[in-house]
C-alpha cells in the first residue's frame, strides 16, 4: 500500500478543481495513472485534492481538454523548498561559507597533547613535533604521523615507543619510556660483612674471596672483592678492552653471628593529678636586676609554664624582660606494675630489636639466652630484659666502589648496548 507521509521528498501540490461532473475528473485521473490523495468535495462544483508534481502536469493536459479549471493552493515538499531557496542567493552563499569554514577549521590541528611522558619534558616532545609540522594551527595533511613518531624516537633515546593519534582537531602524542635497570645494580663493588661473625660457608658467584671458612670478620670487612688483582687473568683482559679492572662482586657468605636485644619496662606506673591550686609570679628584669611580683609557689609537686616578652625598637632590643610563670600543683600517684606484665612488655621490645637485625633465612642455633635484671633509674624501678641469640645467616652487604652519581651516567650506559647519549638519564 502506498500510504503515509510518503511524498514530502518528491513534493506535491494541493489543488482546487472547479467544473461540472467532477466524478469524471477523478475517474479520468485514476485511469491515466495519476494518484489523487485526500480528495474532498467542498461544493457540487469544486473539490480539493493532493497530487504529485509530475501527476499535476499530466492532469493539466487532461483538464485542458475538458471544462475543469485547476488552481494550485499550496506547494509542499523538498523540490519546492529548494526552488524557493534558490532565489535567496545570499542565504545559500552564507550556508556554503559556513560549511567551508567548518571544513577548513576541522582540517587543522588545534590542540596537541602528550601522554605517557614521565621523565622527558612534554615541552621538548612538543618542540620536536612542531619542528616536523605538528603544532596547533598546522594542517592535518601537512605533517606525517609516521615521520613525527620516527623523529621523536631518534631525538629522545629514552623513548621506546611513540604514536601520534589524531582525533578531530586534537593530536595526541603517546610515548612510552624505556625502563633502565637500577644503576646501583650494575656498579662494581665488593661484598662486605653486615655484622661481626664467624664464616661458616662462602659461595662466590663473582669476584675474589678474601676470607675463608672459619675466619672471624668484623662488620664492614671485605668478604668478596670486586677489584681484580694484576695477576688475575681477567685483569689483563679488561685493561685490553679499555675497561677498569673492577667487577661487581656477588656471592653468599653465611656466618655465625650474635645479636642482642635489650629493653626495659617500669615496675611502677606514675600518674599525675592536678589539685586545682595555681600560682602566678611576675618577674621584671631591668639590666641585671630582677623585680618579683608574687613569691615562689609553696607546692611540693607542680608543673610550670613560662611566658617571656622582651620589647625591641627596630633592630635594637631593650634591656627589659617581662616574664610570667604559672605554676599548677599536681599530686603524684605511684602504682606498682605486675612483674609479669613488665616482663612481657620488655621481652617483646627486646625481641623486636633482635628480629630487626636478623636477615631473611637466618637459622637460630640454640634457644635464645634471656637475662632479666631489676634496675633503678632515678627513683623508678625497672625490669631489664636482655635477649641474646646465635644465628647462622647471610651477612653479605654490597658496597659499590663508587656511587652511580659519582660514576656518571656514561659509566654504565655502554654496558647496555648501542645506546648513544643525547638525552641525559636522570641519576638515581
Amino acid at each position: 500500500m502506498r500510504r503515509g507521509n510518503y511524498w514530502h521528498w518528491p513534493g506535491y501540490v494541493i489543488i482546487k478543481v472547479k467544473g461540472r461532473r467532477l466524478e469524471r475528473f477523478i475517474n479520468a485521473a485514476a485511469h491515466a495513472g495519476v494518484v489523487l490523495r485526500h480528495v474532498e468535495r467542498l461544493t457540487a462544483d469544486m473539490l480539493v485534492t493532493r497530487v504529485s508534481a509530475a501527476g499535476f502536469r499530466r492532469l493539466r493536459r487532461l483538464a485542458g481538454r475538458q471544462e475543469w479549471r485547476m488552481t494550485i493552493l499550496k506547494r509542499v515538499g523538498l523540490p519546492f523548498f529548494l526552488h524557493k531557496l534558490a532565489r535567496r542567493k545570499a542565504l545559500i552563499a552564507g550556508g556554503l561559507l559556513a560549511l567551508a569554514i567548518i571544513y577548513v577549521l576541522s582540517s587543522m590541528v588545534w590542540f596537541v597533547e602528550v601522554k605517557g611522558a614521565l621523565t622527558v619534558p612534554g615541552e621538548r616532545l612538543l618542540a620536536v613535533a612542531a619542528q616536523h609540522g605538528l603544532y596547533p594551527g598546522a594542517w592535518k595533511r601537512a605533517f606525517s604521523s609516521g615521520e613525527v613518531e620516527r623523529e621523536l624516537l631518534l631525538t629522545f633515546d629514552n623513548l621506546s615507543w611513540a604514536y601520534v593519534e589524531t582525533r578531530g582537531t586534537l593530536a595526541v602524542i603517546h610515548v612510552a619510556e624505556k625502563v633502565f635497570p637500577d644503576p646501583e645494580l650494575t656498579l662494581p663493588g665488593d661484598i662486605v660483612a653486615l655484622y661481626d661473625g664467624m664464616i661458616v660457608e662462602i659461595f662466590v658467584l663473582r669476584g675474589i674471596p678474601v676470607v675463608a671458612k672459619g675466619d672471624t670478620v668484623r662488620a664492614g670487612e671485605v668478604l668478596i672483592s670486586g677489584l681484580l688483582p694484576p695477576q688475575h687473568p681477567l685483569h689483563a683482559e679488561k685493561i685490553a678492552k679499555g675497561e677498569p679492572p673492577y667487577l661487581r662482586a656477588e656471592g653468599v657468605v653465611r656466618a655465625l653471628v650474635w645479636h642482642e636485644g635489650r629493653a626495659e619496662a617500669a615496675l611502677t606506673e606514675r600518674s599525675e593529678e592536678p589539685t586545682g591550686r595555681r600560682h602566678r609570679q611576675i618577674r621584671l628584669t631591668v639590666g641585671s636586676r630582677d623585680f618579683f611580683l608574687g613569691g615562689t609557689p609553696e607546692f611540693t609537686d607542680y608543673k610550670q609554664k613560662v611566658k617571656r616578652w622582651q620589647p625591641s625598637l627596630g633592630r635594637f632590643t631593650l634591656p627589659l624582660v617581662l616574664s610570667i610563670t604559672w605554676s599548677e600543683e599536681i599530686k603524684l600517684h605511684r602504682q606498682p606494675v605486675d612483674e609479669q606484665t613488665a616482663y612481657r612488655l620488655a621481652e617483646a621490645a627486646a625481641w623486636e630489636q633482635v628480629q630487626a637485625r636478623l636477615q631473611p633465612g637466618a637459622e637460630l642455633q640454640c634457644p635464645p639466652k634471656i637475662e632479666v635484671e631489676r634496675l633503678s633509674v632515678g627513683d623508678i624501678e625497672v625490669l631489664q630484659v636482655k635477649i641474646m641469640v646465635e644465628a647462622i645467616e647471610n651477612i653479605r652487604s654490597f658496597q659499590p666502589h663508587v656511587t652511580a652519581a659519582a660514576a656518571g651516567a656514561d659509566y654504565y650506559r655502554p654496558a647496555l648496548g648501542s645506546l648513544t647519549g643525547k638525552m641525559p638519564i636522570p641519576g638515581p
Binding site: R2, E23, N27, A30, V35, L36, R37, V39, E40, R41
Partner: protein, 93 residues
C-alpha cells in the same frame, strides 16, 4: 446474454476445481471495511457519485454505496479506491 452467463458459470466451476481465487478469475471486486473509518474497494470501475455524505463506486457486477458524514477519498488508484470518514452505511447493489 446466455453465452456470457455460460462462460461465467464455466469459469466459476473451473476456479472451484482448481482452487483459484475467484476474485481474480471472475474479475470480482474486493471490499474491505476497516471499522467505521475506512473502506477499501479493489478492482473498481470508477466513482459514480461523490459527496461528503454519499459515495457510489462502480464495480464489475454492480455498485458499492457508502453513506456517512465527512466522507472523502483518501486515495484513488487505477484499480483501488480508499474512502475515509465516518461510515454509517454500506450497500451493495
Amino acid at each position: 446474454m446466455p453465452e456470457a452467463g455460460a462462460w461465467h458459470r464455466m469459469l466459476e466451476k473451473l476456479s472451484g476445481a482448481l482452487e483459484l481465487p475467484q476474485d481474480v478469475v471472475l474479475d470480482l471486486s474486493r471490499v474491505i471495511l476497516v471499522g467505521r473509518l475506512q473502506l477499501q474497494v479493489e478492482n473498481h470501475k470508477g466513482v459514480i457519485e461523490f459527496s461528503p455524505s454519499r459515495i457510489r463506486i462502480a464495480t464489475a457486477h454492480g455498485e458499492v454505496i457508502v453513506t456517512g458524514t465527512r466522507l472523502f477519498i483518501s486515495a484513488i488508484y487505477e484499480h483501488e479506491v480508499l474512502v475515509s470518514g465516518q461510515i454509517d452505511g454500506l450497500q451493495l447493489l
